[in-house]
Symmetry: D2
Subunit: 244 residues, 4 copies
């Protein structure tokens, strides 16, 4: 581990376990030279709102899978303009996409599962980006998925994307916040939000793999709903599944 | 009071205060000669599902205001076919509608408030229907509106629509159920639902006066949102407001 | 015939056969004491735009069937505000609607045909209105329906709605205009239009009985498409069918 | 020029000038070893329908810009399944997309113009594909754009994408067909079509740069409508503009 020893991480985790999202963010932004917020285009926009109030030179990256909703693309630009922050976009490798499509068409995930497509459109591009960072900050929360995100710590070592040569830390400042609390923040601070949230969408990913949920339906039911598993993660947060 | 004395009502209310919706429904259907379920086209469809399992000759009525969503009209017919039950529709008086529209256009409620329009399209037609009934059954729940529905009893005398000559009772079998419980019932029993619920709508009324709500937003924020009041009722349930 | 003899009508028809819509409108507005434009909420809005430039005290009426698109209701108010003209709305008789719905549901026209529903929601209310007028002005055009509107004159005696005691004339100022010409007028004069026209709709009626058409598809294919007949009229223009 | 001399081309063009689309297609498919239909996801699907009836081993390619409508992606798979033909998809270069987005956001074309984005998402990937072909077949028609497509020949040498080392021919079998004729073909032969055509769309490209048109509005008004030019081409058919 590079800029933080195992001992320091544990101590840090203890210190920040009950800290506010803003305090966790401030710590992350200060501690690492190369740290960026991972922004999905959903309600994790609150991370940007909180971070920009701490310092104006934050870095934000997003994965443009080539299959996002038009509303999400427009929302990215709205966030860009509102907070005056560039969004570092990762785009899939063209050869990998072309080969998958010519063989299987544009919706192979419904027949197979979402792993191959996520690997090409999300995990590969993410890995490229994370190789350039010391730490990343996500909007993951415990309440999003009882199966995979229960007990999710605010600070962790990212064993899924770190390599022997390259340490990587992962911050989840919102982990202990409920969805209700996030939305209360959005309303109170007039944070811009993705208009899909006005049409029943809670969790937002790629267009073909996301849908609105019914009232009181768990938000992860809006993702990869044709798959039975209770362990729905797209590979970005493989750490959650691996550690089970 | 006609077929139930004040004393009997009180005793009844005490008896059924903690009864299940099905028991309350069974009691209502058995006690009154002329009793009908008021069906709004939203998740109160569970009342029909519960009632039809008690007896097949239930009566259902709805208010067609002339301004419902096309999805709601289609849902009415879906329910009609699914449960093989006629829906007794009340339609507004043409002269009253014509006069309001020629004077104020089709959206006067945004400038004024919703009272005049609701009076013509909902309350008047409801009054006509209730004059023919001994009791009606609604899907009201305490959790829908902390302002107007807190403490809503399962059984009550309907002082708003009863007249000296005509007693009227009102049953709210779902009053102590949460939205989550209602939706769990819908899913478990494969109850058909209004497809607007797949687009972020929770409470459903007239098209111009209903909108989807954001995640974790109170459901009554989806109704008459341009009005400040915390006492949002359309006149159907004037009793709730009057008694405060 | 009241205020125009058969001879005068014939002469008038000959005079105006090749007149511009504006000249026909001017003639109609001047000749009759009680004359009104029938406005459907579609591109016949050009009649209002032309007429208001002739005189400001024009009368406009519309049939609110209780099943129009929300876009159409909003468009009615837009026209009302833009031209500062009240829209005299005719609304269906409540008893007739209630009886049809309780017996057959909200979509009987798909199983039967559209005649019964149109009779209740359109023809009856229209008849009530026409009984108060000497003449009405419609947006009908020959090019809308080769089957029923070919040869449609600019001025005609309305034998379908006139009675022995009450003469009635009907003006169709746009009869010889093509759809292209109407839309050229709309664009040139910045006439407000129903936003459904931005979603593939050409002819616009009730929501369940109207749909968008494909590129180059005849506009009447967007109405009552489940019925085979080439004689699609809703009864308002029964004259077109009767005279064949 | 490789497999066709200038003289032969001229003779061929003369021979096929008034030939049917099917005859032109048959000629193209037979004459070249490496020839493919360029399929945009719009009504040029008729080329595939015609070609597959000539021979089953046709090649089809499409440009997935990463910004197409979800309806178009689904339509690609529908065509793939219906005709049992793989679609060779070209995807943009990730580095080029990433650099444009981080600098200018996702909608720079509205502020600048569509040239830079089209160059990255369409022209580059097309050039890569055309370098592997002797000829390509497009759905261009004269009636699509009086400004740029008038006089478009059925067969032409593609000077825009050919190189001194690599000859390239371009076939436009539908050039003399009207939109009406294409749609008549679609209906008569039950050809699957993009559902966007049911919502007022005629010409279909990328989501942010395509919109529905009004009745009787020229179809190219649905593309890059914020740009004044009458010379709207995305670079795929630069030949049309260059030769003016």
């Amino acid at each position: 581990m590079a800029d933080l020893s195992a001992f320091e991480l544990e101590e840090l985790a203890r210190t920040y376990e009950n800290a506010s999202p803003t305090d966790i963010l401030a710590s992350a932004l200060e501690r690492h030279d190369s740290v960026a917020i991972s922004f999905s285009g959903a309600e994790d926009v609150v991370l940007i709102d909180m971070a920009i109030k701490i310092r104006s030179d934050i870095r934000v990256f997003s994965l443009d899978t080539g299959r996002l909703h038009s509303e999400t693309y427009r929302f990215f630009d709205k966030v860009r303009d509102h907070y005056r922050v560039d969004i570092e976009v990762q785009f899939p490798d063209s050869a990998a996409v072309e080969q998958m499509i010519v063989c299987k068409g544009f919706h192979s995930f419904y027949a197979d599962d979402h792993k191959e497509c996520c690997a090409i459109r999300k995990v590969g591009p993410l890995r490229r980006k994370l190789a350039t960072l010391d730490a990343w900050i996500t909007g993951q929360r415990e309440d999003q998925n009882a199966g995979t995100r229960h007990g999710l710590p605010a600070i962790q070592y990212d064993a899924a994307f770190a390599t022997p040569e390259h340490a990587l830390f992962k911050y989840n400042p919102l982990t202990h916040w409920s969805s209700a609390k996030v939305w209360e923040y959005i309303r109170r601070h007039s944070v811009p939000y993705n208009p899909l949230h006005e049409r029943g969408y809670i969790s937002i990913g790629c267009e073909p793999c996301t849908r609105a949920v019914l009232p009181n339906q768990p938000e992860r039911d809006g993702r990869w709903w044709w798959e039975e598993s209770t362990l729905k993660e797209c590979g970005l947060h493989a750490l959650n599944v691996a550690s089970r």
